[in-house]
């Protein structure tokens, strides 16, 4: 539909059993932008994020209706390989979750199972490039064999981003990636997001309004499972169209 739309979602409904968590949400994620999802707890922003790489499939009783397309391809089609989909649409979670393996193995795991490297040297190259892009290389290059879990929280989160990058995704979904990090580590992740912008379409869920304002070009405000407002971040934070958006971002409810 629109130019550069990487992901298009049309009329998406999500149910957890009988409870409807997402109501008729439509939005487009652009290839060259960072899109932020904001809204109070339980508003459905994480649920909606998870529909974009079918993470809701793993939740018992969850049901998704509507149309979600990646480059025009229906990701809920029977023929869609979900493992492949999640390599194309990578994810970074709230708490850093490195594997209890070496730093090298954390990053090498994905390319290896997806058969992205033909040789050891090529795999090492992918690991280095991913760690470089995640801004972690200089800190870990001399201790790649140490455990990933021995790193600091901020480093672990960048390791998880390197892991997501290693399989050469097209989209990276981030679910509150900084909520467990201190301000410096947070700033480094935000800087990383702006470095990665353009190379990957990025969608970030955040509770931190200032963070959404800092890192994104588009912002979507969710409330009670509905998409209340979606538009340019700068307009959203200076002059939102909807009363509910204004009340939320100015701290009047939520």
């Amino acid at each position: 539909m629109t130019d550069h739309a990487k992901i298009t979602a049309e009329g998406v409904n999500v149910f957890y059993g009988a409870k409807q968590a997402i109501r008729n949400v439509s939005l487009h994620v652009r290839q060259d932008e960072v899109t932020a999802f904001i809204g109070p707890s339980g508003c459905g922003k994480s649920t909606f994020l998870r529909t974009l790489n079918r993470m809701n499939d793993t939740i018992a009783g969850a049901r998704v209706e509507g149309d979600v397309r990646l480059d025009g391809e229906d990701i809920y089609a029977r023929a869609m390989d979900v493992v492949q989909l999640r390599a194309r649409v990578g994810m970074v979670f709230q708490k850093p979750n490195p594997f209890p393996k070496s730093i090298f193995e954390n990053v090498a795991y994905g390319p290896r199972i997806h058969g992205l490297a033909r040789s050891k040297a090529e795999l090492a190259q992918i690991v280095e490039r991913s760690l470089q892009r995640a801004g972690l290389w200089n800190e870990v290059k001399d201790r790649l064999s140490e455990s990933g879990t021995a790193l600091s929280g901020g480093q672990q989160q960048r390791l998880c981003i390197a892991r997501a990058i290693a399989v050469d995704p097209e989209v990276i979904l981030m679910d509150e990636p900084c909520s467990a990090l201190d301000p410096i580590a947070t700033a480094r992740i935000e800087e990383l997001i702006s470095d990665l912008r353009g190379r990957y379409a990025i969608v970030i869920v955040t509770h931190n309004m200032q963070q959404a304002a800092r890192v994104s070009q588009k912002t979507a405000f969710f409330h009670l499972g509905e998409l209340v407002e979606y538009g340019d971040t700068s307009a959203m934070f200076t002059n939102p169209r909807e009363e509910r958006t204004k009340d939320y971002i100015t701290g009047r409810y939520g």
Binding site: T238, N239, I249, G251, Y253
Partner: protein, 228 residues
Amino acid sequence: MASQQEHTVKAFDQDIGQLRGLISQMGGLAEAAIGHAMTALQRGDLELADRIRQDDRRIDAIEADVERTAVRIIALRAPLANDLREVVAALKIAAVVERIGDYAKNIAKRVPLIEGEHRIEPLSTVPAMAKIAAEMVHDALDAFAARDAAKAVEIVRRDRTLDDFYDSIFRTLVTYMVENPKTISQCAHLLFVAKNLERIGDHATNVAEMVHFAATGNQMTDREWGNQ
């Protein structure tokens, strides 16, 4: 329009309330200064003229207070959307009101300079002009307190009346000066007084524009300006 709902963090409402209070206090003093300056001018009241200069220091002090409060709100509350626009508007309005106070003070300074001279007739039309200017200031600050964009538009349009007034006084004073060179000194001072009032009107117009932006998030259009 602006939401009447309170912030979850009550201290935020208190901060904003404090900022509004300071602006309205400042505006009240500036408006009074214009009125007093006219009275002093008409009566040749040197004592009143001196008091206006004293009062101007209070306006300056409140402006500094507004700055401190606004900076603190930005630092501690990280205001967004209408809150952000209001804090920014308050900061700018304070600077403008301070200028308005300076113009009133400048008028007061001229009182002793024309004291003792025979009063020429145009002196009686200047207070009428001052009344319009003071009303514009008053209404612009009322519009800020009420976040009333429609009222802001109405104030902007009034500025034209003030400009017409100035042109008329200018022509009258020039005629006086040509006909009777003895009045030149007094006329020159009155010319500055009229010019100051005209500038006060411009500043009130600026305030109204900021009120419009704070209330709606948009600049006034040409149509609202009455340029079409």
